[in-house]
Structure formats: C-alpha cells, structure tokens
Symmetry: C2
Subunit: 467 residues, 2 copies
C-alpha cells in the first residue's frame, strides 16, 4: 500500500462478519482510546477485537489478500512507538482473547491467550502458590502477548531471564492466515527449528501471537532488600560478583542509582535519604529465598563481608515492608526527574559491565559539550548490563542531538541501543549502531519470507525498501 | 546433487588452496577417523579443517557455487547420526578453530571458536573462579559449536538451562559464504530479530557456527547430594516442587532412577545399593550453593521435612566426595544395562511431569505385548520433563517395532520424541509425532531461505522434496 492510499481496504461490515457484533470500533470511539506513550494519537481507520485464533486467522487472511496493513495492539504500554498507527491501517486488538486457559501446578506451566494482562496472570498464579517472575512497571496494562512480541525484561531478569526464557510454547498466526501452533509445555524439546524464537521480540512484524505456554516458578518465601553506597563503578562490578557468588542463586535484583538520580529524588521536600552523606553510586540489592530467618542471616553476612573488604562504604538493610518500599521508591519514583529534567528524554541501552564507567563519562562529556546546561542521570539493571539514562537538555527539536550523545559511543564498544524496550519507530534510525549490514540483510530476508505482502506492522523495526 | 552422483565436485587441491597445507584429509586416513556413535563409517570423499572464519566462508562459497554437499563435524559425539556422511560429500571439521579468545571475568562472558572442546573450556574458566554450567557425558570430546548447533542439555538444565540459554552471541557462516557476526556480549539486546536462535539447535542445516559468546556463572562453593527412595511417581512430582521451593534457587539436579535400572546396577557383584530394601523409584537430589556448612544444614532440613511428610521413604546423604561419586555411579553407569539388555536401544523423550506415570505404564504394556521377554528401564532428568528409556527387546531388525512402543504414545499427550539429542537421521521418521504439518512447512521455508542449494547437512532433520 502506498503512502498516498489512506483508506483501509477492508470495511467495517467485513470485519463484523468475521469477529461478530461489537467487535469493531471506529470513528470518534476509536479516536478516544488510549493511544499509548509518545504516540501521535490513534490514526488507524478501524479497530477489530477478535475472540478466537480462528477469527485472527480469517482477518489476516483477508488483509493479506487485499494488502491491508495491520497493527497488533496489546496493552500499548511500550516506549518506542511500535504500536503507532497511520491512516489506512487497521488495528487488531487482542483485548478479548484474555482467558487463562490452564494452570498446571505439577508441570509448573500455564496456557494463556495473548490478551491476558500481566498483573492478572501474576495474581492468579500466586493464588496457587506459584510465581510468574516477569515483572515490570506496566504490569497493570501490558499483555502477555505483547510481553512476548517485545521480549520484555524488567526487574527480575538477573535471576529468571527475559520473557523469552519464560515462553515454552507459542501459537502464532502468520500474515497469510496460517495458524502455526507450537504449544510445547516442556523445558526441553529438540525437535527441529525452534520456531517460537522468531516471533519473540520481533514486535509484531513477522506474525501475530495468539496463545502462549508459560513457565512458572516456585513462589519465593523470603525477600531481603538493602541499599548500599559505593564509591566507584569498578567496586560496583566487583560487588555484583561478590553478592551473586555469596547469595548462591538467590540474588534477584542489583539496581544501580547514580548520585544525580539519587539527588533528584532525595532533595528537600521529596523522599528521605537513608544515608548521612552523598556517594557517587548506590545499589539496591535484593535476594529471594525459601526461609525467612536463614536467608536474612545469609544476606546480612554477605553485606557485612562486602563492607569489610571496602567494596561498600555504607549499607541500610530494610527491616520492614515499609522500609523496603522506601528503598525501592528511590529507584522507582520518576515524577521528580520528569519535572526537573526538561525536555525529558529517557534511554535504555546495554553494554558490558566493564565498559560502563568509561561510557557514562563519555556520554556526560558529549552532552556537556553540546548542551552546557543539560542534566543527566543514570539508573541501571547493572546485573544485566542494562543502563537507563534520563536526560533533560536542549529544546523540543533537539531530540536527535541528544540521541547522538547517548547512542553514538555504543558503536565502538559493541553496545546495544535497546536493552529491553525494542526498536519500534523510535530507535529505527539507530539500529545500524547495534546491528551490522549482514544482520540487517538476514532480518529483511526473514521479513520477506514471513510477510511478503508487508501487511504486519509496516515501517516498524526495519525499513523495507519499496519493490 | 542426485543420489547417483557420488563424487565430490570439489578437489583436494582447491581446498588446500583455501585452507593451507595439511588442512585436507582423504583416502585411508579419512576412513580411519572416529566416525561417531551408531555411524555407518565415514563415507565422505574429503575432510577439510579450516583455521579461520574467512576460510570457512571461502569453502562454503565454493561449495554453494558447485552445489557441493557439506557436513560439519564437531566432536561427532551425538546420538542421532546427525553427522553421518555419504559418498560425494565433504566434511568441514572445526577441530582447528579451537582458541578460547577471551574470558571477561567482570562481564562474566567468554569468546570462543566453535572447535573448543567443552571440558577444556570448563577447566579454563574454573581457573578464573568462574563456571560454565553446561555439562554432559561427552564433555571430553564434544565441541562448543556442536553443543550450540544441537542445543545440548545434560545434568544442570534445571538450574541453568540448555546450551541455548548459555549463548549470548554467535558468528555464523551462511551457505552462500556470507559471514553473519552477531557477537553480542550482553544479557539483554532487543534490537530486531534474534538471529542466533535460528542456528542453535538446527543441527548444521541452516549455517555453520564459527565463533560464540558464552555466558559464565559464579563458581558454586558447596555441593550437597542425596539419593532418596520414593514410592509413587506422584510423590516424585510433589518432591520436585518441595525441594525446589525449599532449596530456594540452589537445586541443580533432580534425577529419577526406576527400580529396574537401579536393580541392573546394584545386582550381585556390581555396585552396592545404599538401601536395605527395593523401592519403585529413586531420585538423586543435588544442590549447589555458596557456603558449605550453611547449605548442608538447609539440604538436610529440606530432606528431613520430605521424610516427615511421607514423600520420601528413605534417604542417604553423601558425607564425602567418595559417597557422592558412589551415588552418581548408580545413575551414570551404563555398561551393565548395555550388556544385560540386548539388543540395546536408548531413547530420549520429554513430556509433562503429570503425564509421566501413565506414559511409563503404557510403554511397558506396549512393549510387553510385542516383546514378552523385552526388558525396559527408565531414567530421567525429571525436573526438565525428560525421560531416558533403555530397552532390550527383539532382534536386530526390530528397531522400528521398539520405536513404535516408545514414540507412538507421545503424540496424544504433546510429548517430544527428542528432549535433548536432536533429530539427525535417527529420529527423522518420528518428527511428525512432535511437530505438526504447519510447523514442518515453516521449517522447510526456512531451510529454503538459508540454504537454497541444499548443501548444508543434506537429509538431516527434515526431508526436503526434490524440486
């Protein structure tokens, strides 16, 4: 479909015919829906809400025959505008496919439809004494299908891995309407190519995920949390190894906060700092285990050792759920940084732990040179090599110049312009920093193979040249 | 290349020209090489040993232009004849690409060439206080590239995952000689399609892995091992959940041994049974942690609880390294079962834990009906849903009838005909039990995309129809 062709090639009646009464939203009702973060409104002509995999297949089959572009919507809580729509497109919303079909406690797995909201699933699983460990800020709105199509990360990756590691099986509808069901429930299954991997993290450009088999874990009993002050990034790296070894499999979070971010959240009238004086870096350390008393003793002794060896200059261990919440608030409160840093830019990159100190210094220097009044602060899932960067600099038109400061230095050190947020539209111009020409060529070959009519989430992730 | 065309289309001189003096083996020298398990000898015309990725690329480029079939050889220690060769084929052996290029302790990752032998890598990493957790019987001969191309499993999957979970990045040469380098070193990198997943587990049919970036872990300090007697499979399943929850992240092995296998290894004059009387099932439980005294206490208290609640009827905890070795010998000694069960057949399947009891009963019954004198025993990585089955039944021509008994019942319960061994030639006829027509069609599309000349490991995993 050319850019000038701005009317959907499929009518409301045809979609209603497939998905039933009440399944289609259009006009003012469509404009009023939540478009998602950083979106230029909802521009699509129609939204259809199928209730079954067969309806998804019928819709895609029709769209493919008509070369009708389709954008799949889950919870639209992504950060890179991967769900932005344009005039002439239709939205395939998964919101009605929201059944938790089965929880198998013995096998520690669950079968869900793609539209189940993460938090609903977490809570249902917990009632059975099990745990679904993926956890992120958008838990109340994001959907499991979207978590898979974006390979979501979050707070527990260090211990349990990304969404990719939680997915045992998938059912996918291909662009031409073929239903490919790979609903494997086992941890091991070496029978040919692992097809599900193609659809995890491809942001809706290769197929539509309709159902998932997810791995569940035992519910942890104990939770120990501390915030510690650290003087150098090299001590942060040594501390990570020390606590990971010392906690022997129980380390579940290792979150960096730099002095600037800490300062924003603990300035006068905001959150209370638990420390008497400021340090260059802070780390929140959390362990999850199976025995409250025992694990608290282990946690304390590992931290005591870290203080004795000088890796940590000060440490506060949470003695109550309230103190735990207070510690996490210093990391998770974003309102102050958003109001202090204007215009506010947020970044998500990854690099090896050993490169972090030099990279942070370089970004600070480049930013100071371009924007002498610019503000910058770093947060990070350091255990995963993941840094989040908050910047307030320049004016509304300076996004590209700010991005230059953040992304450009990643090329030489093999860093990634997107640790967990994905590419969408937002990071597409910067993709070549993290992926070379050969990788991009293979990605385009895969896109051509799975979506030759180019109907699935067109323009996202990759630029495909006109034929 | 047709089946009647039985001479390689590339000459020794051409290969020497690319890979240098001493790089080519042919004739009697080639016939004398170790062909691997269950192989019909080495039938290929030539073997070439490149030393660099660029040589691999030049060789494949030439083979692709001439439609010359190529079979990649790692340690040839697979069990499904994925490395069998035929007349007219050439072997690309990775044995000279055996450098450990870098170990990054701070980032806990390593860069290796594909021909590095697993055990050499494990030992090198351990000298730096780190651990590469993949471990399997073939450790002394198998190569890391082969571990990736077969997605190897083994003894520690429950805790650390399969080889797929250890691979952060890959360099691959495609059939047409293109080098695709995705040497990512980070745990998180959501920048477009995760291409490496296509080459992991595809048994050399989509590309040749030349280099890998591998994830390393902290070296565990403590190791606690026990063998317990259990009366029912349902108690085995409950026990798995109980010890996994109770050990809070430290459980690293949970290995089932059934009464028959136990009996074979502990009969008069063989290994000593640690128990006074026989039980229907035994489980070896092992935990790895960070503190010897503390972890031993935890391990004992979790087992004591399992005995109090009746899940376990008897338990022996290893009090020395020798006792630990004695316990594992009951699981790992295969010579007695191979000599008692003739002809000897070994299988590797997976299914959900909840289905195991009924499946084991069904296979026993089917086998008894076809082969009244047949012998059967079960072993399993139960924590991974993986059963290994040893059968001694019928004569040398009864393989298919024995396979029927093992594989046929898996279809109805969504089981897998290969948990960790792969498909190769051995399991190709049974692949449709675990993969549906739509999945097989997509696999064929991928094979066509990556290897249109069909030169890579032809005839393995998938049957591709003649054009």
């Amino acid at each position: 479909m050319g850019m000038t062709d701005t009317r959907a090639r499929i009518g409301e009646a045809e979609l209603l015919d497939i998905a039933g009464p009440g399944s289609v939203i259009s006009g003012a009702d469509l404009r009023e829906r939540e478009p998602g973060y950083f979106m230029d409104g909802i521009r699509a002509d129609l939204l259809v809400r199928p209730s079954t995999t067969e309806q998804v297949a019928a819709i895609l089959s029709l769209c493919n025959a008509r070369q009708q572009p389709v954008v799949v919507h889950g919870g639209v809580s992504g950060w890179v505008r991967a769900t932005q729509t344009r005039p002439g497109e239709i939205i395939l919303s998964m919101e009605r496919m929201n059944a938790i079909e089965r929880i198998d406690g013995e096998n520690r797995s669950a079968i869900v439809q793609a539209g189940v909201i993460l938090q609903n699933f977490q809570e249902t699983v917990e009632k059975q004494g099990l745990c679904f460990p993926l956890d992120l800020g958008g838990r109340g709105s994001c959907q499991l299908g979207g978590n898979a199509s974006t390979n979501a990360g979050g707070m527990r990756v260090l211990r349990y891995g990304m969404m990719r590691e939680q997915v045992l099986g998938l059912e996918v509808v291909l662009a031409d309407g073929r239903i490919v069901s790979s609903m494997n429930s086992m941890l091991k299954n070496n029978t040919g190519y692992d097809l599900k991997q193609l659809f995890i993290g491809s942001e809706g450009t290769l197929g539509v995920i309709t159902r998932l088999v997810l791995r569940l874990r035992e519910m942890p009993v104990s939770c120990n949390t501390a915030i510690v002050a650290v003087q150098t990034m090299s001590a942060v790296a040594s501390l990570l190894r020390k606590v990971d070894a010392g906690l022997g499999g129980q380390l579940s979070a290792f979150e960096l906060i730099d002095s600037d971010f800490f300062g924003v959240n603990t300035s006068e009238g905001r959150l209370r700092s638990p420390f008497a004086k400021r340090s260059p870096y802070y780390v929140i350390i959390e362990s999850q285990g199976a025995d409250s008393t025992r694990d608290a003793n282990i946690f304390e002794s590992v931290l005591a050792e870290a203080m004795e060896t000088g890796l940590v200059s000060d440490a506060i261990i949470a003695a109550s759920e309230q103190q735990r919440a207070d510690i996490w608030a210093i990391r998770e409160t974003l309102e102050h940084v958003v109001s202090d840093f204007t215009p506010f830019y947020a970044f998500d990159v990854s690099l090896t732990v050993g490169e972090m100190e030099a990279y942070m210094k370089r970004v600070r220097a480049d930013l100071a040179q371009t924007f002498p009044d610019g503000k910058i602060a770093f947060l990070g899932h350091v255990g995963d090599g993941n840094l989040h960067i908050a910047i307030g600099a320049g004016g509304p038109d300076d996004r590209h110049a700010v991005e230059e400061c953040v992304y450009r230095p990643l090329g030489a050190i093999g860093g990634s312009v997107s640790a967990e947020h994905g590419i969408g539209l937002e990071k597409k111009p910067w993709l070549p920093i993290s992926r070379n020409a050969e990788e991009l060529a293979v990605m385009r070959q895969l896109k051509d193979l799975f979506d030759p009519q180019r109907i699935l989430n067109p323009g996202k992730v990759l630029t495909i040249n006109a034929r």
